[in-house]
């Protein structure tokens, strides 16, 4: 049902669902985000991470035509971001805002009916049923939204964002406040939408969620700090590490690891193991194993330790904090 993305007004064929160039937004003196550039392909799940106040929500609002950028340009769902194109862009996207913003006096169904009308849905009944089913809320359809818990309201807001059959779906912290099962359901829903070719722009503070769901992530802290596949970010920021654990401490670790090809350095990891920095783990891991055996060590375990996206994130944001406080 999605309109052909290449049929954007202006005649240009746009291959990116989102193309953002040097976009900035300030509120008076306060810079919300500055000089942000990135592209998101159709069908991609794109994670947008960053600390509180980094500018994530403001970016979503700007791309969603709710507020105007201070400078820079962008194309959203193939349509240039200009004041005149607001309606055309909003026809192709949906936003689940940070706060659900439901009509609390109306029932779940009544809320969705209103929005099905606003999206001019041709078959509102079916759409509403499908959206309710997608967030597992069919049994609460008749409840007033004011009587729902925080997490249930969050799910109504998600259902509402599905009504318009968007090409690009912005989700601003969709799982904040959800219980683990509900969060998993949302993750499954995102996977399902990805399979249907929906582009998803996901802001979240749950880094394991971003790691699991997103094809690529960007880390924003007023400016864009890093962008790429979670694996690549890890590799860019951290040396690969092999962790070896032995029954007893090695009498001469320098002698053991120093002679192994591909080992860049090592340190005791404080819990009876050794963290060995290597350039290529497929070469270094077998060599380290042999060196340990040759040295007569009783090896308990050896393996590549993977930095998580959380490590990447904390490393970057800590760097920023240090820069801000200044050295010394």
């Amino acid at each position: 049902m999605n309109p052909d993305p290449s049929s954007a007004p202006g005649g240009k064929t746009n291959t990116a669902a989102l193309a953002v160039e040097h976009l900035s937004k300030s509120f008076g003196e306060r810079v919300a985000f500055r000089d942000v550039s990135f592209e998101v392909g159709y069908g991609e799940v794109f994670g947008f991470l960053g600390p509180n106040g980094a500018g994530k929500t403001t970016t979503v609002r700007t791309l969603g035509t709710l507020i105007g950028p201070t400078s820079g340009s962008a194309t959203v769902a193939g349509v240039p971001l200009t004041p005149e194109n607001g309606v055309e862009i909003r026809r192709r996207i949906a936003i689940m805002p940070e706060l659900p913003g439901l009509y609390l006096r109306l029932t779940v169904t009544e809320n969705l009916e209103c929005f099905a009308g606003l999206y001019e849905s041709p078959d509102p009944r079916e759409r509403i049923d499908a959206a309710l089913g997608a967030v597992n809320l069919a049994d609460r359809a008749g409840d007033p939204c004011g009587a729902l818990s925080k997490g249930l309201r969050q799910r109504v807001a998600l259902a509402r964002a599905l009504l318009g059959d968007p090409q690009v779906l912005f989700l601003d912290e969709p799982t904040s406040g959800l219980d683990p099962v509900a969060a998993r359901d949302v993750h499954e829903l995102i996977d399902e939408l990805r399979q249907r070719g929906v582009t998803i722009f996901l802001t979240t503070h749950r880094l394991e969620e971003a790691e699991r769901l997103c094809d690529r992530v960007a880390i924003l802290n007023t400016t864009l700090r890093m962008i790429g596949r979670p694996d690549d970010l890890r590799d860019q920021l951290f040396a690969k590490t092999i962790t070896a654990r032995t029954l007893k401490p090695l009498p001469d670790p320098d002698g053991v690891f120093g002679g192994v090809a591909g080992v860049d350095g090592w340190h005791a990891d404080g819990s009876g193991g050794y963290a060995i920095a290597v350039s290529d783990s497929t070469v270094a891991a077998p060599a380290i194993t042999r060196a340990l055996v040759d040295a007569g060590a009783d090896v308990l375990s050896i393996g590549e330790s993977r930095h998580s996206l959380e490590d990447v994130y904390l490393e970057l944001i800590d760097e920023d904090a240090e820069l801000q406080t200044g050295p010394g």
Partner: protein, 239 residues
């Protein structure tokens, strides 16, 4: 303009009114206030004084209902959504501000007119049935009744646009409601001047006022929609 989107807003508004105690109370109490005062005046009048009513058109006082009730409801329209945080999701849909404002205005107009005519009808019926017959025939005169019927929607339209404009620029529901009463003051003053016999309600005056009001009603959204600034409404700062 999309009729579907306007209808979605109207339907949503009417559903919300029904479940909002303070709005239901406003709809009930305001008309009563404006119904009781003229009826007391008329019922307490002896038949001999019926002549004094001739130029005072006491029923015009009841035009306060289509003036003040829509103003109060309209003042609530935009700012209340903003305070409840429901405006942002609505504005993420393809809706145009004109569609939103028209939906809001129609949702106020419908109950405003219905209540005005209902109360007016009740007043006429009770005067016809229970007032001294000389008084009744002095009060119930065709030109005035026609004026009443015609001016009800015209005045309601003005009040609605003033109320919606105030609502779109206010940060607080209560302030908006108080200001909207001021906004409908000119209409109240003219009505009162006629009701108290200061201005004589001539056909010329009626036609002039009617034409002016009709112009404002039809063109109103042109004045009001520029006041609806998405960015300010969502972030609290001007774009």
């Amino acid at each position: 303009m999309s009729a579907t989107r306007v209808r979605a807003i109207v339907l949503k508004e009417l559903r919300e009114y029904r479940r909002n105690g303070s709005i239901v109370a406003t709809m009930a109490i305001l008309p009563l206030i404006f119904l009781i005062e003229p009826l007391i005046q008329i019922f307490s009048l002896p038949a001999a004084s019926a002549g004094t009513l001739l130029h005072k058109a006491p029923l015009l006082y009841m035009l306060g209902i289509p003036t003040l009730l829509p103003a109060a409801l309209a003042a609530y329209s935009v700012v209340s959504e903003r305070q409840q945080g429901t405006l942002e999701p609505v504005l993420t849909t393809p809706i145009r501000r004109e569609e939103f404002l028209l939906g809001k205005a129609l949702a106020v107009l419908a109950p405003g007119l219905a209540l005005s005519y209902l109360v007016f009808g009740a007043a006429i019926a009770s005067i016809a049935l229970f007032a001294q017959s000389a008084v009744a025939s002095a009060v119930l005169r065709a030109p005035e009744l026609v004026a009443q019927l015609v001016f009800t929607p015209l005045l309601a339209g003005l009040s609605i646009w003033v109320g919606v404009a105030i609502s779109a620029r206010s940060n607080d529901t209560r302030v908006a409601q108080q200001l909207s009463v001021l906004g409908s003051l000119p209409a109240v003053v003219v009505t009162a001047l006629i009701a108290f016999g200061v201005i004589r309600p001539t056909l010329g005056l009626a036609l002039g006022l009617g034409a002016g009001l009709l112009f404002v009603d039809v063109q109103g959204w042109r004045f009001v929609s520029p006041m609806f600034d998405r960015e300010r409404l969502i972030t609290g700062t001007k774009s």
